[in-house]
Point group: C3
């Protein structure tokens, strides 16, 4: 038995104006999160997923996706351990016959106690679902707090002609280390040997520092909340020196041939990165760091390209399979996954948030932490998991 708090209270006292971000170890409640691709859930099929520490059942009924806590109200067992779906709309607990309606969560019946006063009066928790760009989004939060999906995705993601393809995998780090790894302009240092280079002539400094004006907070009432970092307003470093000796060089191409790896990145609530012109101009990488529990996140990696004809769509799908998935999402981003997982132990006991020693370019990360603390719509707590 344990009463220990989710986050070390001593640390919370020390972090000042981004306290809410440190509190959100399990993620921000009352936001939309992509949890699977639409193609992974066929009509009538059932999926068990995790989200912000909760176990959820997803079912597609008459085309629409529903999400319900995967835990019987009666004795707390997972319904999914032996899913008895006697009708299209319901699931019956294998243990004592408690029967729930997917659309509402309502306890419709207890098979052996049809006249129980509980029937029709109790509900299992359900969450709104929406599908967009081939992803299933779940609003993990309270019904009266539902906001439109457009406020929880980066600008441009819902553009009508944008075709989105992607993959997902589980990463053994807290979701925030995902956000910070992605948005961090200095971490380019770990990608120096990426095979992605074979497909494009990158200008690839060993790091770059934002100059005044590079970073902008976007906080419009009705839109998504995020921080943008404009790489054209950065000071790049091409040569790494130690004791006056150049020890590492970033590749720099003829400006007519080479381009920057990206022209800028931005990070948005509830934890999604947008990388413009990446892996090549014309494509944008959108990637989510979806909290699964305290120590793991679902890394949802997508690429979006504007396509108006079937030929363009087919060409993008083809290039995705042969180039961008193997060399970008798998190869290039494998460096990032590894870095997040190796960083995790330092933050395990929360002291990392105060013991870290940030340097000047990390000011972009601090902007993000503060913005997230200001605009996160709620902190997921241990109590929410009960």
């Amino acid at each position: 038995m344990s009463e220990e708090p989710l986050v070390n209270p001593e640390v919370l006292e020390m972090v000042g104006d981004w306290r809410g971000y440190v509190e959100a170890k399990l993620g921000f409640r009352n936001h939309w999160y992509p949890i699977r691709f639409s193609s992974e859930l066929n009509e009538g099929a059932l999926l068990v997923v995790e989200l912000l520490g909760e176990k959820l059942l997803l079912k597609r009924i008459d085309g629409k996706v529903y999400a319900m806590r995967d835990r019987c109200l009666h004795r707390g067992v997972p319904l999914s351990r032996k899913p008895d779906c006697y009708t299209k709309d319901t699931i019956t607990c294998w243990y004592h016959g408690y029967t729930y309606r997917f659309q509402t969560g309502e306890l419709a019946n207890i098979l052996a106690v049809p006249d129980s006063r509980l029937c029709g009066r109790r509900k299992i928790q359900t969450y709104p679902c929406e599908e967009a760009k081939g992803l299933i989004f779940v609003f993990l939060g309270d019904e009266h707090e539902v906001h439109p999906l457009s406020k929880d995705v980066p600008p441009g993601f819902l553009d009508e002609d944008l075709m989105v393809l992607g993959k997902h995998r589980v990463v053994d780090s807290n979701w925030r280390l995902g956000c910070e790894n992605g948005f961090d302009a200095l971490h380019i240092f770990i990608h120096k040997d990426s095979t992605l280079r074979h497909f494009r002539e990158f200008n690839f400094p060993i790091g770059h520092t934002p100059l005044p004006g590079a970073v902008t907070c976007i906080e419009e009432e009705d839109g998504p909340k995020g921080v943008e970092d404009d790489f054209s307003k950065h000071h790049p470093i091409w040569d790494g020196e130690i004791d006056g000796q150049i020890v590492v060089k970033g590749p720099k191409f003829d400006p007519k041939k080479g381009t920057s790896a990206s022209i800028g990145t931005s990070i948005w609530l509830p934890g999604v990165l947008k990388v413009e012109s990446f892996p090549v101009p014309g494509i944008t990488q959108f990637e989510w760091y979806v909290p699964l529990d305290e120590g793991r996140h679902l890394y949802v990696q997508t690429l979006g390209q504007a396509c108006t004809t079937d030929e363009e769509r087919s060409d993008f799908a083809n290039k995705f399979e042969t180039h961008w998935k193997p060399h970008g999402l798998d190869g290039f981003n494998a460096d990032d996954i590894w870095a997040r997982e190796v960083t995790q132990p330092f933050y395990d006991d929360d002291y990392g948030w105060v013991d870290e020693m940030l340097c000047e370019p990390d000011s972009t990360i601090l902007e993000w932490r503060r913005l997230a603390a200001r605009h996160g719509r709620g902190i997921q707590t241990k109590k929410d998991l009960r």
Copy 2:
């Protein structure tokens, strides 16, 4: 290092008149528990067993069984890790020669320090043992609290002509989930596909609810304390309906051929169930949920049949091996074992006791919890394990 309490104090405050039951996570102290079959411990042999969180050494000396804590007083090592039994009555610690007498626990000698003032003045903890119906029972408690075994077994179990056969296995759930799974009249729902049906024409409703008068608390001063549930005073449900449609039916036979699965169950302190007329009329199932530690119990499953002749005994033994063990104790009860293990995580942090949502027929379970809290002779605590 940890000072955390065994049971969440916040939960204890909330459970009202069965608080003692929630406190008894490690079981009730000062009761008799069956721990092995007599046939498993030959003359002179040594066994290591667990009981209520303690590790015990069992030895049979001149026919009688003795139980002693398996931990040297000196530096706390398990005597059993290298058992040096130089004489029939003693065990010598392999590390420094501390020598204990099984019958009393007395520190008889320290081999290399024969004149130590500790000799004859210190004792390792021992517990009374008794054998009955082929089982070894240990009284896990304090000597001045010993009660007769007959107060800790269900009525009828010690009947002279009752022949008892059985088996045991470790289940990964707290002992109370064993008790409640067994005594719960609704859980019959999980047995709908049991192969045991091949051997008997059961009337097997999908559930049944006790009517007034079905449940009786037995609390006589000198007898065992338990709760009886008379199935003849139950309202059975044969058809499970969802939205007006019958989705599952319980088998119901011609009353001349079929019989109820059981005519009633009862649950007794310190955690033993009696199922009458089961698996067939003429046989009674007695099963114990013996606490091993917080998360595991020993499931001691026995069947008793009145036998007065050798032929009857031989016939019962034969049927036990060919019918009741494979299809009852192994097959039918495997459903129960699985259900308890899947339920355990919800109760791991104790909040399950207050977050569960019981329905009307579960009033029998509440009777049991209250009775156990009233009559349990002591709570096993972490301090008892030191």
Copy 3:
């Protein structure tokens, strides 16, 4: 997240005048510890080691050994996970290019942020290193507390003509159980069947108790601090009796042939045992119990013999490989390693220190605990690990 103290405060209140010893679960800070043999670290090579709960990087540069915390100041990642050593004297963090100088720990550069104000102003923790008798010693403590190595090794260990050979292995017990197992005169009981006997006619009582005058505390200002136990002032027991019957006998030889297994032992801060005339007269065993973390120690086993000629050295090296390593350090001491690991669980939650039941000869152990509490130069705490 956890705030739990390293040692149970309730236990600390109960142990009286050796409280500091119980507090030193992670070892005493500000002492010299042998961590590897010199032959294990070649010029330019890098090793990762643990010491008192900290992870350290060792590197040999121009013949000299340096030790540095293996954790980047920036985001806390282990530098060793992908060691980028662009120059002989430095290591660069693989994640963002923070570059440290081994000799001082100084943050020499951040490759992509060469003008960061942190450069030259921040240091990673380093520790002094010395080599002696073929061992690499690290002073795990604060620079202003450094004492000479000679105060942290047993008398005689640094003698000019002493040749030292040895091995090391990780043992799954706290370091103090190593010290107490080695210094404990009674534990000889576990060695009764050692194959080491084939190489020497030991007089091997089953135990021996110090008489008045056997035990001496050595606490001179400028020397090592330790407790000596003179076996010539012990009362040996040759026959182990139970109920008047001799059940075990210690081998006792003709005094002209046989010798005592050892003429005495002593234990020294920060946790090193000296066993004189062992495994044979003319050789001394020195063994360290180096704290790795709360539950493991590095068992550094060495034998020293005075050698003045190459022939003597070659002969000792030969005998070490054929006799003393296989039958002493491996065979005989395997009993000790096993005993420490089996004892560990009793002390896991610290209650062992107050629940143990010591006997008269254990007074030598109490002397050691008190001396260690008096002279340990600092307690390693969880805060030191941050």
